[in-house]
């Protein structure tokens, strides 16, 4: 157990490889990110599905010029990232989201490589071994590991047992397993025994440091609310997006 986010990230050196949990702004270790930005660590190699948004989450690390390279699956929410990539100041490697998830899982599970159909015949397959199994084509992907994983859970105890909430789970459980040092920030730090053993999603063996996050903003990237729908048919509410200038279909 550590007392603060600052203490938790105090030994992360320049040039370290970091995994950061979250999908969009959901389930990101926002306090640990803030502490890293305060410390001003440089030349980090980050692994995370996204890259936050301009001004929040990993976007703060981009603003501070802390990231040298990034592996993720979708980085469409940052204007600054575009500028840095075009200027050659940031190397971004984009890989299929399922491949990212499985490479991290493999890293934590001692599986150095595996075959996946995702990306066969595309630029993702370039330079990779491919094989046919039972008439279908697959490419070989390697495991991913990191020096540190920064993850976020809903509840945790001092053994490091973790419970995530709703879709804030996403990449956090795999990242917890795939780093030399895993640091978990939680919204509620509870006593051992408070979490029902059957409900624990990440067993404490994977977690080296745990802390209660100082502050949670509960940011929403794309607020969509329903308009009630009076027409005939099965559903009472409409899925159509509410007008939202931030919302940007693919």
């Amino acid at each position: 157990m550590v007392a603060s986010s600052a203490e938790a990230v105090a030994d992360i050196p320049n040039g370290a490889t970091l995994m950061l949990g979250g999908f969009g702004l959901c389930g990101i270790p926002e306090n640990l990110i803030a502490a890293l930005v305060s410390r001003g660590v440089k030349d980090l190699h980050t692994i995370s599905n996204n890259m936050g948004v301009d001004g929040f989450g990993m976007g703060l690390m981009l603003d501070a010029g802390m990231i040298a390279s990034h592996i993720g699956s979708y980085v469409g929410e940052n204007k600054l990232l575009e500028q840095l990539v075009i200027a050659g100041k940031l190397q971004v490697t984009l890989i299929p989201q399922g491949t990212l998830a499985e490479r991290i899982r493999a890293g934590g599970a001692g599986i150095p490589a595996f075959y996946t159909p995702a990306g066969f015949g595309t630029v993702v397959a370039e330079g990779k071994e491919s094989r046919e199994f039972d008439g279908k084509h697959y490419i070989m992907e390697r495991w991913l590991k990191a020096d540190f994983a920064l993850i976020k859970a809903w509840k945790g105890d001092r053994h490091g047992n973790l419970v995530y909430r709703k879709t804030a789970r996403n990449f956090n459980p795999m990242m917890a397993t795939a780093a030399r040092i895993t640091i978990a920030e939680v919204e509620e730090l509870v006593e051992p025994g408070d979490l029902p053993p059957d409900s624990i999603m990440t067993p404490g063996i994977y977690v080296n440091r745990i802390l209660k996050g100082e502050q949670y903003q509960h940011r929403i990237e794309r607020l969509t609310v329903s308009r009630m729908h009076g027409g005939a048919g099965g559903s009472a509410c409409v899925f159509a997006p509410t007008p939202n200038p931030e919302s940007r279909p693919l």
Binding site: Y74, V75, G76, Q97, T116, V123, V124, N170, P173, P249
Partner: protein, 224 residues
Amino acid sequence: MPPSDTGIDKRSLIIRRAARELRDGFYVNLGIGMPTLVANYVPAGMEVVLQSENGMLGIGPFPPAGTEDSDLINASKETVTELPGTSFFSSADSFAMIRGGHIDLSILGAMEVDQEGNLANWMVPGKVVKGMGGAMDLVASARRVIVAMEHTTKTGESKLLKKCTLPITGLKVVDTVITELGFFRLTPQGLLLVELAPGATVEQVRASTAADLQIAQGIITWPN
């Protein structure tokens, strides 16, 4: 009545036809944009479970204003709700169920589809690349991949091509294409026009399609 030129009417035609491919008990992943709207046309009495690749089965409608939850989003990062029977899981579990072939149907948009069933929908060379997200995993492994898209680009160029010109998302992965002009299947013999949209003609489809086109025997017009 000929199809209207307005984008909204085109999209409505496409979405409603795509919804008719749903079957009771299906687990379905809907792509960002127009495919998401298929959820509004699930036939009454039919149960379809929507999967979100960020780790959720059983996506409910958008929440009433004021009840939104920052921990409850879909793959477009929009706030959604739970339904009775909803489950949450990790991204690794989510893509295990996708790669494992457990998703019955994936409906997604496209920039180009060619007559071999190749799909391009993730990058345009020269523009900033945002990433493929989960699209490559989905198209490689869903039991059936339906592309729901407008037939032509904004400048009137066919999106159904002999060969994709953009970098592809998946090789020979498309089963069905639905546009405002017709319903097409990818067959070993190539692109087959199976149904016409209300008001569309075979000649009109031929004139708007760059791909080599086969016409099904006994072609019908789908009821509006």
